[in-house]
């Protein structure tokens, strides 16, 4: 039995105090304030007028908000459909035992994640430029009938964003999946092979169930990240402050930023923020509901 005196009763609170203070100042208070703001119209924080539910009512009839919701949803689905399968395919390739230079490939695939979204946005805006961009120049050189003014960025907004996003994030997802693949029990794969299972059957019935929890986490991270789309369109469509042609690149967060920080209407921006928060919470709850069986099994 220890001879030391027990800690005083206030000791836990003392240790918790720094976190509580920071959380109260930078977490809880802004949250409460933004909720109040969502029911106000503002010209900066000093000039405010209570407008009740006007911001929320206007939001549901605002065509720009719905354009932002539509674009963000399409981007999220597109990201999900493209990114996770491509990351899995790359991880499977890198997981081949006979592959030489695995570390080099892993670095190459992961490097766009290191340079960050601003750099990727700038790179893609140069690559996809009409006439002088590398993609159009190469395609025109290879196929003389290819239009050197092909409007990748202006005419194909969502594919451009998805391509940039894929290049940015696929390495990150791949590294998670590669780690999961390397933890798939080899004896189970060997047993399946001895039982006569072909490569697809081994993948479908052994590998996939083993890496399913990681795929689940990646799906959640991808969805949450895609719903917060901001920097890629903001760089690729800098001339229109991230809106893109005919608002085709406008995302919910871009609209929130424009409303709050370009138009100065912090109240309306808060209302948009709360709608986004509710959507994210619902998605997280949906994810928990879908994976409740796995939790119980674990």
């Amino acid at each position: 039995m220890s001879s030391r005196r027990p800690h005083p009763a206030w000791a836990p609170w003392l240790f918790l105090a720094p976190f509580l203070l920071f959380f109260a100042a930078f977490g809880a208070w802004p949250l409460v304030r933004s909720f109040v703001l969502a029911f106000e119209q503002t010209f900066g924080p000093r000039t405010t007028v209570y407008v009740g539910t006007l911001n929320f009512r206007f939001l549901f009839h605002d065509p720009l908000f719905w354009a932002a919701v539509r674009n963000t949803t399409v981007f999220t689905i597109g990201t999900l459909v493209v990114q996770v399968p491509v990351a899995l395919a790359l991880a499977l390739l890198l997981n081949r035992p006979d592959l030489r230079g695995r570390s080099l490939f892993r670095l190459i695939f992961f490097s766009p994640t290191i340079v960050g979204s601003i750099f990727v946005g700038v790179i893609f805006s140069l690559l996809l430029e009409k006439r002088t961009g590398l993609v159009n120049t190469l395609l025109h050189a290879a196929f003389h009938s290819w239009n050197p003014d092909f409007p990748w960025v202006d005419g194909f907004v969502m594919p451009s964003l998805l391509m940039a996003s894929l290049w940015l994030s696929v390495g990150f997802n791949m590294s998670y999946l590669l780690a999961a693949l390397q933890n798939v029990p080899a004896d189970q794969l060997d047993a399946a092979a001895i039982d006569g299972a072909n490569a697809w059957q081994r993948f479908r019935h052994v590998t996939l169930p083993a890496i399913q929890p990681v795929i689940g986490i990646l799906v959640l991270l991808t969805v949450v990240g895609a719903l917060q789309l901001f920097d890629l369109p903001f760089i690729l469509y800098a001339d229109s402050f991230g809106n893109g042609p005919n608002n085709a690149a406008l995302s919910i967060v871009t609209y929130l930023y424009q409303t709050g920080f370009r138009s100065g209407d912090l109240g309306y921006a808060s209302a948009i923020g709360w709608i986004l928060t509710i959507a994210l919470v619902l998605i997280a709850l949906g994810y928990r509901w879908l994976t409740r069986g796995e939790d119980a099994a674990a």
Binding site: H7, F43, F241
Partner: protein, 463 residues
Amino acid sequence: MKSFFAGFVRTLSPGIALVLGLGIISAVIVALLPLQPRGGIQIWLGDGNHANLYRALAPEWNSRHPDLPLTVSLISGPALQSRMLSGFYSGTPLPDLIEVERGQIGQVFAGPLKDVGFVDLTDLLARDGLKDEIDPASYSPWTSRGRIFGLPRGAHPVMLAYRSDLVEAAGIDVRRIETWDDYFRLMRPLLQDLDGDGYIDRYPLTISLTNASFSEIFLIQGGGGYFDGMGNPLLNSDANVRIVARLATWYAGPGRVIGDINMYTGAGLRLLREGYAVAIPSADWYVGNYPVTLPSLAGKIKLMPLPAWERGGRRTSANGGTMIGVTKASKHPEIAWELAKFLYFSPVIARQLYDLTHIVSPVKSTWSASYYDRPEPYFCGQPVGRLLQRAIPDIPPRPSSPYLSSAVQLVNSVITQLMAITDRQGYVRPEQAAGDARRLLDEAQHTLLDQIHRNVFQASPSP
């Protein structure tokens, strides 16, 4: 208390207690340090050329006001806007004067008139007999609900800068051009597929489709625009319908005659150098860029008035702009106003600014200066300053609104949609696109009105 500290030290360990103690002591010292009082008169601005000019004049100002020396702070555009709005909204430190670009000013006017962070200059201009000294259209971007909040730095007339080497080699006489129809008819031979691949490599005109401000050049030139003088939106005016329909058939469809270059990028400059475009609408400040960014085109570029939308119509437009305003936070508003006049009405600065940037002063008394008549070798010996200055009285007004950026984006969205329709339907004549233009602009007007009606501050009465 002694046992408290002993317990504290025992609980935390001496090392952590020492670090924590030092942190607390440092924080207290920093909190108690007196703020350095800001002396003199301070200007924030975002343009390096302007900053250099004003710094050069500081000694002269300081000799007249030794107790209020001039400090010029050059701040990047986005940071300037953020700091300015933070100061206006929340009372964070502000200078006495701010020079701000047109794209940054709309938000300043979004709230009640009494809360605009700049001093209302309307009565000061009248008191000092200066209002009529400046070209009236130049005030319009800096005016809200009839009140003037800034002095305009330049007049910013727009002319057509064209590749005289290409035009003259094709035997085209630009003096025969009066309207845009004349322009595209006479320039038709320069719409060329140079390498025979079936794609156009040279267009008679180019603008940046992605840069929304370019549409405004055409809209206000043709009698359209975004707002009337009272800030009411005019997106679906007859003039706008006519112009937008015309722009769509220029930009798209089988009759496309306009190229698309982002002139602010290296790639855009390369295309200009290689002759992708024959002409570009250019404001005075952009004219000043040519010798710097495209030195290899010396002796190959000339200016001509913009072709009009109809015979006898307006031959110029306006683009961009900067103002200086006195902040309400200034402790010496009268001195700040004196400095603003010193910087903006000075013939010396007007000349230096022209030499450096080709920006033509909106102050009428400077217009007779001889430096505007100087032939410029880069522009084939043309007296560029005089050409720009002569266009000033014809510049259309550009009424300001906090909803300007929304209006610009809505109209650009309409043009983009109309281009897609024009491509799909194969429209060639503007009359074919007019119905769709009307419908889309009606929708845009409706959307903008909804946004404006939601703003409770804009309904506040003017003083």
